[in-house]
Amino acid sequence: MMQEFLQNYVYLIGSMSLIGIGLYITLTDENIFKIIVGLNIIESGTNLFMVAIAWYPKAVMPIYTLTNKLSINGKVIAADPLPQSLVLTAIVIGLGTTALALTIGIKIFEKYGTLDVRKIKEAGR
């Protein structure tokens, strides 16, 4: 019972909590770097979510090896490799976004002299 609940929900709860916590940081903390940290945590949560939907109890890893059979009697027993490959992509994209965001953050610090998002705006609007 407990095991079944955990199998069904633990990763989803984990990923959603990460997304929620990341969103919370993004929405409340005024420091630019902290916001980027928040975005990164959201990223991790999304990745976890995507891998979690690919998994089911007793799944094997989707790699053919000498001992690892991926299908038995026409039924695939491996974890879903497609979301995993998508996550691979998403991680790299996340890194790119993070790097660019940090760069912009550093540049903002150089020019505005602050890391406070509230102060990064023009006088007149």
Binding site: I19, Y56, P81, R118
Partner: protein, 277 residues
């Protein structure tokens, strides 16, 4: 919501909003297959795992695939069991199914992904463009550290190359391999005072490996008449020389990612002064 909203109000608002959002998510979860009800046999991944996409295409063209009220019959597609080390001339020879998806079945995504990383590196370098000052990390590097990082760099480089060359057999591949190489470069920066990376070499590596990826894709277009199509024989699954062009692409990706991430590290770690003269 104004710019000078008190932080407490902001926090309470954010908390309540996120609570609502989470409730919404869990509401969606109730209808989502999860845990033991996940069935890969319903998904397109089944075809990738069993490497019978060609058979599925045949079935599709004859109109059987989407029979029965448009539910695709992915488990009805004929397949031949794959044995590691024996099955040969599969439509895709990578033992690592994730790799076969990343590079072969969905190779176009990966091309895009490499491009994203390339663009991010380009953007970082563009924003840090200017007169280079010096390494910001002022480590009082001892001789041991400096020599050690250099030796470690060689080992790390080799390890990275191993990772991406074996991408189609073992976990890993071009991206982690590249990242490993970049962390070696990072180690060089940390361990050596005034370390200067070879910019020309990085640039050449980056460009040539990226071009190699596209050219492999274009070769597919002109030889097999499809962009990013596999034009090499696949060999026996599990061999190092198998999986056709996957190894080539992963080598290109590994070199490119390594060079790009090194460039990112390089441009972030070195102080510059803007010039808009």
């Amino acid at each position: 919501m104004r710019n000078d909203t008190p932080i407490l109000v902001k926090k309470i608002t954010a908390l309540s909003l996120i609570t609502i959002l989470m409730v919404g998510f869990f509401w969606a979860f109730t209808e989502m297959p999860k845990g033991s009800s996940v069935n890969v046999n319903n998904r397109v991944s089944r075809l990738y795992i069993l490497k019978n996409v060609k058979a599925a295409t045949k079935s599709l063209n004859s109109g059987n695939f989407f029979a029965k009220g448009m539910k695709p019959l992915r488990s009805d597609v004929p397949y031949s069991p794959i044995t590691f080390g024996k099955s040969a001339n599969l439509e895709d020879g990578a033992a690592n199914v994730v790799t076969s998806i990343v590079v072969d079945y969905r190779g176009f995504d990966t091309l895009g992904e490499v491009t994203v990383l390339f663009l991010a590196a380009t953007g970082v370098a563009m924003l840090f463009f200017g007169k280079r000052k010096k390494n910001i990390i002022k480590a009082q590097a001892s001789l041991i550290m400096s020599v050690g990082t250099r030796i470690a760099y060689a080992v790390i480089l080799l390890f990275g190359i191993y990772i991406f060359v074996h991408g189609h057999l073992t976990p890993g591949g071009g991206f982690p391999g590249g990242a490993v190489i970049a962390s070696g470069v990072l180690g060089l920066f940390l361990g050596n005072d005034h370390y200067e990376s070879n910019h020309l070499g990085l640039k050449l590596f980056e460009s040539l490996s990226g071009m190699a990826f596209v050219i492999i894709g274009l070769t597919g277009l002109f030889s097999v008449n499809s962009f990013l199509a596999n034009f090499l024989p696949t060999g026996v699954i599990g061999d190092l020389y198998s999986a056709g062009f996957i190894a080539l692409i992963y080598i290109a990706i590994g070199m490119k990612v390594g060079a790009e991430l090194s460039a990112v590290v390089d441009s972030m770690i070195v102080d510059t002064e803007e010039e808009w003269s």
